[in-house]
Amino acid sequence: MTTVLGRRVVQLIPVLLGVTVLSYLLLNLLPGNVAVTILGPNASAQAIAKLTREMGLNQPVYLRYLHWLWHALHGNLGYSYVTNQSVTAAIVQSLPVTLEIIFSAQVVGIICALPFALVAARNPNGLVDSSLSALAYSTVAVPRFLLGMILILLLAAYWHLFPATGFTPLTQGVVANLRSVALPVMSMAALEFALYFRVLRSDIVEQLAGEEYVVTAAAKGAGRGRVLVRHVLRNALLSVVTVMGLNFGPLISGAVVIEVLFALPGIGHLLINSILGRDVVMVQGIVVFVASAVVFINLLVDIIYTLLDPRIRYNA
């Protein structure tokens, strides 16, 4: 197992380097001067020259990249000349909001998907299964922001159950915090529900139909519930973990849209504001941070996977 892990970590390094090179070049090899982009077309020649010097833009791009990478490795992703803020500080400040809605959406999605998947798998292709599958397939075809708008319309505008937009930090009360994230989490969890329902349902159906340990357990006299919980669900956990890992990127994409719709001060909102404000340094920092997080989470999933299923250690 250590060798498998070691190989995965070694493979990680070129990918991470590539991620930094790509994000850096994407934003720095663009036609035109980054200083002009930041300061706008009406800036004076002196101001542009000053910022060019300060940002080291008169140096060759590979030197700038190495310089930036050196600082990035020490946790310093640069300094925003638009908001006068350290990029790392801005990310650290907005990260908890994003993590809260992503994490809650995953948990709500899985918890809701599980009982429905079990019910659907009891009678594959029956009425319940077909209806639930149809529902899951339809949910995937609705953009998250449209779903969010419908929820705002129903639960905030008509019935005043939850605030339509805005965020109350956890420090100002748990209930207020949960109320403020309820609609965003629901908008995101719907898609997670559809995703996990499909994965769990097909996994459970497949196991119940053919796996030998299911037959053995049943033959030894284990009740249906015991077989489901002790044997089938335990193995279905593997696919859930895989999907959770693959799902992190799409969830971040979803969080960008949802944070803008609900005016939550998360990392997605920060990204969009930085893009609209032409804050190159900030955009670059966020993109590198998110892409690296995706890479690390995939590694983490591989590790968890190896721990959950001992067979993988020998096959890898």
Partner: protein, 283 residues
């Protein structure tokens, strides 16, 4: 309800979603495309961007405006049809571009193996680390938001998916007897690639395209919502949905109608793609 009726309903539902009716969803898709491209030629419609401040927020089914008007008095049906063109073009365009680039890379990686394979696949791993929407956002912003650049930006996320699919298929085909035979009698890489590998890769790759077009259309809608889609007043389904945000409580139909167009197209694409894939898998 007697159990037999229940069974029939279940069967009908099942065949509706899974079963052997790809033509149904194919027809839905063709109908939407025809409506967007031919509709404005047949139905007398106001121009999609012409404002009429005397008839703002007209509800649907009003005379002259079947689907109503938005807060600037623009005809919603006209905007949905013209906007649909943009959404469909971006969806199909981005996936077509990704299909060509990704499959070429995948075939190359699978056929050449070794260093070429490792280099291409590691490079694509890097691309995979960027969440689709974030990649599209950054690329679209810096290329400048117009239809062509948005197609380019969205195409990026489909490249790794296609490369993996094409590579896996190529690896399988490469070991087939007819490919070995062709190589034995001295066929060049290009000959084998074009006459043996390509025809086998093209089928799974095109059926996968239907599902990806749906995803691309959703991403494009998200870009529009974030204000980085095609520049206004040009519409796409996503931007019309987003434009209704301000009037959501008084005129929800402004968002819901283009939403329904988008929903129906994506469902049709998904069902069609799923169905074709299942057919290929079962031989």
């Amino acid at each position: 309800m007697p159990s037999s009726a229940l069974g029939t309903t279940a069967q009908a539902l099942r065949s509706f979603w899974r079963g052997g009716k790809p033509w149904f969803w194919g027809c839905v898709l063709v109908a939407i495309v025809a409506l967007c491209y031919l509709g404005p030629l047949v139905i007398p419609l106001p121009a999609p961007n012409s404002t009429d401040f005397l008839h703002t927020l007209t509800p649907p089914l009003s005379p002259g405006h079947i689907l109503g008007t938005d807060s600037l008095g623009r005809d919603l049906l006209s905007r949905c049809l013209y906007g649909g063109r943009i959404s469909l073009e971006v969806g199909f365009g981005a996936v077509a571009l990704g299909l060509v680039i990704g499959s070429t890379l995948g075939i190359l990686a699978g056929y050449k193996g070794r260093l070429v394979d490792a280099t291409i696949m590691r490079a694509l791993d890097i691309l995979l680390a960027f969440p689709a929407l974030i990649l599209a956002l950054v690329v679209a912003t810096y290329l400048g938001p117009n239809e062509r650049n948005i197609i380019l930006a969205i195409a990026f996320f489909t490249i790794p998916a296609y490369a993996r699919l094409a590579r896996a298929t190529t690896l399988r085909i490469r070991e087939m007897d007819y490919v070995r035979a062709a190589r034995m009698w001295g066929a060049s890489d290009w000959y084998v690639g074009f006459w043996h590998v390509f025809p086998n890769v093209i089928l799974p790759v095109t059926t996968y395209a239907f599902i990806l077009v749906g995803v691309a259309m959703i991403i494009q809608a998200a870009l529009s919502f974030l204000g980085l889609g095609v520049p206004p007043p040009q519409a796409s389904w996503g931007s019309i949905i987003a434009s209704g945000q301000g009037d959501l409580s008084v005129a929800p139909y402004i968002s819901l109608i283009p939403g329904a167009f988008l929903f129906l197209s994506v469902v049709a694409l998904n069902r069609l793609g799923d169905n074709l894939q299942r057919r290929i898998a079962s031989g």
